[in-house]
């Protein structure tokens, strides 16, 4: 379907570097990255609004790198929707058909069909300046989908919607993809990626730093940046010691963390998910576990219970459910034991 090879593009101080990407037909591909990572520039390049300095863009075995925007059959929905303010909803959705000089009766028919699919038929006569963000987005989507694009590009489509509209929009995007629409969706939101993507790519400073299925990427993050996206907050730069086949990472504050690894390097980065750490007020007796004593410095209410910040020389972040928190009767400044398996410690390679 879409293949990007060796795409480079310099834009002032920023550059997209060596972008290689292959997206098969019917894919829902989420490109995840912070603002300024180069997501929008990459989308605009695929759409033809920008051109790469070098590299090639192949769509359905056709090189479209220098092809005119109008002939690419790639639809893009911008973050701010770019709904034409001087036209009604009807005028907006009909625009791509009008510029293609399609008969007026056909336009009216197609616009009504597209508006019905997006549940905005009742808004057709309305001025777009009075629409809500969610309605504008549906207008922008209907306007793009009416051209039957081979590939649909979405730039942060959920970023300015409230929670209930977000769920509706996610449902709509999933059903579009189920109907066979290939989608590339860029976002800075990890939860969007998890809930929609079949495949995800993480872009950072103009480079795609990891790519794979959602599980592959977030269960085995290749570096600290990707791990942060997965919500992991426990990162430790360590020197690695081999004690008769048992590997131990020693932090700069001499906290020792046992972990499992095949070929560790002398130095590395260890990460531990906040949910993998168990709290005990007494020292547990299981010796195969990592057992680290620390003092609770902060208790922060969270969605499912509490987040504990524990100072054990290095700071650890631990999630605990409300019932367990109440049973243990935890307070700030209390000393507790943290227990976690060596299997729950991930050693990162590559760019630390």
């Amino acid at each position: 379907m879409l293949k990007l090879t060796g795409i480079n593009r310099k834009l002032g101080d920023f550059a997209l570097e060596d972008i290689n990407l292959e997206i098969p037909e019917g894919q829902y591909y989420v490109l995840l990255g912070r603002s300024g990572a180069g997501k929008t520039q990459l989308l605009e390049m695929i759409a033809g609004l920008e051109h790469p300095d070098n590299g090639s863009i192949i769509l359905d075995n056709e090189d479209i790198t220098r092809k005119k925007i109008q002939d690419r059959k790639i639809g893009i929905v911008f973050q701010d929707y770019a709904v034409f303010p001087h036209m009604t909803v009807f005028g907006n959705i009909a625009y791509p058909l009008k510029v293609r000089k399609i008969r007026k009766s056909t336009i009216a028919e197609k616009v009504e069909k597209a508006a019905s699919a997006m549940n905005i038929k009742h808004l057709l006569e309305r001025n777009t300046e009075k629409l809500s963000g969610g309605e504008k987005q549906r207008v922008a989507l209907a306007r793009t989908l009416i051209t039957s694009p081979r590939l649909l590009l979405l730039d942060e489509p959920l970023s300015s919607l409230d929670a209930s509209l977000k769920d509706d929009m996610k449902r709509l995007l999933r059903s579009l993809n189920k109907a066979g629409q290939t989608i590339i969706h860029v976002t800075h939101d990890y939860s969007d990626a998890v809930s929609l993507a079949k495949r995800v790519g993480v872009i950072h400073n103009g480079r795609i730093i990891q790519e794979g299925s959602v599980d592959e990427v977030f269960k085995n993050p290749s570096n600290r940046f990707v791990a942060r996206y997965a919500g992991i907050r426990n990162f430790f730069s360590v020197k690695i010691r081999n004690d008769n086949g048992i590997f131990t990472g020693v932090t700069k504050h001499n906290v020792c963390i046992k972990f499992e690894c095949e070929n560790p390097k002398p130095e590395g980065l260890l990460i531990i998910k906040s949910d993998s750490i168990y709290i005990s007020r007494e020292m547990p007796e299981k010796s195969e576990l990592n057992l680290i004593k620390g003092k609770i410095t902060e208790i922060i209410p969270s969605r499912f219970g509490r987040e504990l910040v524990i100072d054990a020389g290095d700071l650890f972040y631990v999630n605990i459910i409300t019932s367990e928190f109440e049973t243990l009767n935890l307070r700030e400044q209390q000393e507790v034991w943290m227990c976690f398996s060596s299997k729950d410690v991930v050693s990162l390679h590559g760019n630390l």
Binding site: E44, A47, G48, L49, I69, Q70, I74, G75, I76, F78, D80, A82, F84, P85, H86, M87, T88, V89, F90, G91, A94, Y95, P96, K98, V99, R100, K104, I107, A108, L124, E125, N127, A140, R143, T144, T147
Partner: protein, 271 residues
Amino acid sequence: MNRNSIFTWVLMILSSLVLLFILAPLAGMFIHTGGKEFLETVKDKEVHASVWLTLWVSFAATLFFAAGAIPLAWLLARKNFPLKNMVQGIIDLPVVLPHTAAGIALLGFISRDGFLGKTASLVGLDLVNHPAGIALAMAFVSVPFLINAARDGFASVPERLEKAALNLGASHSKVFFTISLPLAWRSITTGFVMMFARGMSEFGAVVIIAYHPMIAPVLIYERFSSYGLNYARPASVFFILVALLFFIALRLISIKRKEKHITSDAETDRY
């Protein structure tokens, strides 16, 4: 009375003085013009011809130059090119030049010895002392108003809308006529009205190019220098009233046009 309100009062008094400075001479002129003299001037065919000439020549000059000024404004708003700042400076030059000097410069260009004058004389047209020459003099000093207003209008159109239109299959010219131009329309109209108004009030450049046929500002000057203030005043009042009427009418048309453009979009698209 608190300190804020004293400050506001000071601002209001200063503002009123400026407004008074503008309105007092005009009001004085209206007050000192007798009804009888004014009615005689209204019936004066020479005054009629002069006012009519001023209006249509300025309007024609604005229309004619808009064809080049609007594309130039779009280029300045959207494209970067070498010496862009210099081009911008050249556009503003007529505003800062003494208008009689502008007239002299233009005369050299459109007289029979000048390039444009020679070219025009090939088709039997002498631009000096001709409405076409007057139009050129008016446009020379007033076209920056249209270019600058239109440029600001195009610059205020989000580029993303143009990109979206391109992505939806529109050609560059279609994007210009269906997106950029309608969205910049209000600024362009303002520039159009400003250019028209500035053109018809021009005296310095026009008097060098064409004393005859007489446009209204030249006629007023001629009556003043030949017969004095009392004779020039009614013609001035009449010209100001006509110009105001024209100015207000153009403003109303442009506002209605914009409203119509927005509200009737669906109907024109569908039927």
